[in-house]
Amino acid sequence: MKKLLSTLLAVSMVATLLVGCGNSGAAESTGTDAATTEAGSASGETFKIGGIGPVTGGAAVYGLAVKNGAQIAIDEINEAGGINGYQIEYNFQDDECDAEKSVNAYNALKDWDMDILMGTVTSGCCVAVTPKTAEDNMFQVTPSGSSVDILSAGNGNVFQVCFTDPNQGIASAQYIGQKKLATKIGIIYDSSDVYSTGIYEKFTAEAPNQGLEIVAAEAFTADNKTDFTTQLQKIKDAGAELVFLPFYYTEATLVLQQASTMGFAPKFFGCDGLDGILSVENFDTSLAEGVILLTPFAADSSDDATVSFVKKYGELTGGETPNQFAADAYDAIYTIKAALESANATPDMEVSAICDAAKAAMTTISVDGLTGQGMTWAETGEVNKAPKAVVITDGAYKSMD
């Protein structure tokens, strides 16, 4: 028995080693990519920007999009001469959407001498990592971490490119009200998730101001997230014309499918968590037809910046269409650039000095990005930009207006 146990232990240790190797291998390869592009700059005088997000696992759609979106921005900046004349080195670490792994990834990036953190991608991980960056006083821009807890976990060193969750709730209610999409609203939300409950609470508070009546609000929990028939039945019986789905696309695929089986076809409206639903392997996208998402980016927009970004993203990923997360990451890198330029920061400054200079600059700059024109930031780290929505038509995201 002992022998068996020790063999098992040995095997698992070897397995961990192998997994470890795989990760560092990937990191090295991005490192060398960056190194080749910055070959011209002397004596390693570069801005080292680290990224953290899920490249594998359930939220990998987000992480990969952010990784690639940021890569495009960095390549563009390096080609155009860098930030204040210094090239950028980029290192993206996987956290599998796990808070503990995210902190490990942060420590790994610190060992790599990171100057600035672009991350993390998901709110839960970001809430775990931000106290560490606050402690180190490291300048942090999260492309898609949308919880308000992220801002309160920092010391003013963290800035968001996307809306905070509560603001998404308010923006959703305003959007539905102003566009007169419906008046009777049913809601399903994940009561075990901060992202979902945050949006739900603000949405419910804002709804009466917009003339919306919430006829049913049903919850589910992380342990019970496959069967939504009862919630849908209640919402159907309550006569809802629009069902608000403030949660992630994994559960949304099941909700849409079960609603279709029931013959229940209201309008469905979601937030940025639904972004990615069209990329789920083997999902019948016709079920998502007509679903509306509050998201700041639509890949079919015809403005030059979006067209060029979509083209570069396709070249980098072999034909994929970027989602909102990729655009958020692209904007995050340009936001970092704008802040560093405004602050006249240089890579030889201490991490903490870069942070102090950059965060003072953040409230003064205005960035025209893919996800909004004239984005500005409050001292708290919240972004200010106009909400936009897309509707899923023929299996693709189309701008609403």
Binding site: L4, F220, T221, T230, Q233, N282
Partner: protein, 291 residues
């Protein structure tokens, strides 16, 4: 009308619990061990069918049959490697090992398939039944029929065949059974083989009903099914069916009429109350320990 709809939804959910609970209760009834890895064998079955159908384009029925074979082999292997060496150990050691096996299977699936959700294509091709406002899905009909067939077959197998009788003997007294010339190890292996084969069928039906597939797909239904088995009287085969269906209906009715958030808490409170009133579960038999 909605009440009936809620009940039907409850039955669909309950039928899935029931079919998983059948495997649980069967292994517990014979081997007297809680195979916590049962839910994860179900997940493995899901992935086998998914891979067969989506990557290799195999016919759904053939895919299910292959998954039954794979899971049976897996069950026997797990039993040989993880449980057999612990035959004489305390039940607690076996229980912990079972939890270990469960994590092992989850992480193995994570390594091979990654944790992104896969959309499973239903293997059931039965059309849904529409009675006015009430809709019963083909998956529910098939699951309930499968439960009943499995229940009857298992009962007949245990009552009428030699191997079944051997199982019964082993469940009552391992040592005495051995003295009577029954190969206890082979009998327990057979139990695991059947239990895991059933898990494969349960996996096919679970994933057809709730079409998202991740390495954790089996974990929560596995626990719920365990509750259903205890509810119906663990070790009792008809008990598993009744326990599963009741659990599903109670869960959905409490979601509908009390609180969708508290549904799980209510389900577990019902379990506690049932166990307080009738510690052996609904159909469980009290076995007097002879001293």
């Amino acid at each position: 009308m909605s009440f009936l709809n809620y009940c039907i939804n409850g039955l669909s959910l309950g039928s899935v619990y029931a079919i998983i609970a059948l495997g649980y209760t069967m292994v517990y009834g014979i081997a007297k061990m809680l195979n916590f890895a049962h839910g994860d064998v179900i997940m493995v079955a899901g992935f086998v069918i998914y891979t067969m159908m989506n990557s290799l384009g195999v016919n759904p029925i053939v895919a299910v049959l292959i998954s039954v074979i794979v899971c049976t082999a897996l069950g026997v292997t797990i039993e040989k490697i993880a449980y057999k060496p612990l035959r004489k150990a305390t039940p607690l050691a076996v229980l912990i090992t079972a939890i270990g096996v469960s994590y092992f299977l989850q992480n193995l699936a994570l390594l091979i398939f990654g944790s992104d959700t896969k959309m499973f294509t239903s293997v059931v091709k039965v059309p849904q039944l529409k009675l006015g406002e009430i809709i019963i899905t083909g998956e529910t009909i098939v699951t309930i029929i499968a439960c009943i067939i499995i229940m009857v077959c298992l009962t007949l197998f245990i009552k009428k065949t030699k191997a079944g009788q051997a199982m019964l003997a082993v469940s009552e007294d391992k040592d005495a059974a051995e003295l009577m010339g029954i190969n206890v190890n082979a009998t327990i292996s057979l139990t695991f083989a059947i239990g895991s084969g059933l898990a494969a069928i349960a996996g096919a039906l679970l994933c057809s009903q709730y079409t998202s597939l991740t390495p954790y797909t089996g974990a929560m239904p596995g626990i719920k099914a365990f509750v259903a088995a205890v509810f119906g009287g663990i070790g009792s085969i008809p008990g598993a069916l009744i326990g599963g269906l009741l659990l599903g209906v109670i869960e959905n009715l409490s979601k509908a009429y009390i609180s969708s958030q508290m549904a799980d808490a209510i389900v577990f409170s019902v379990l506690i109350i049932v166990l307080l009133v009738k510690p052996t579960g609904i159909l469980g038999k009290k076995i007097n320990e002879k001293v």
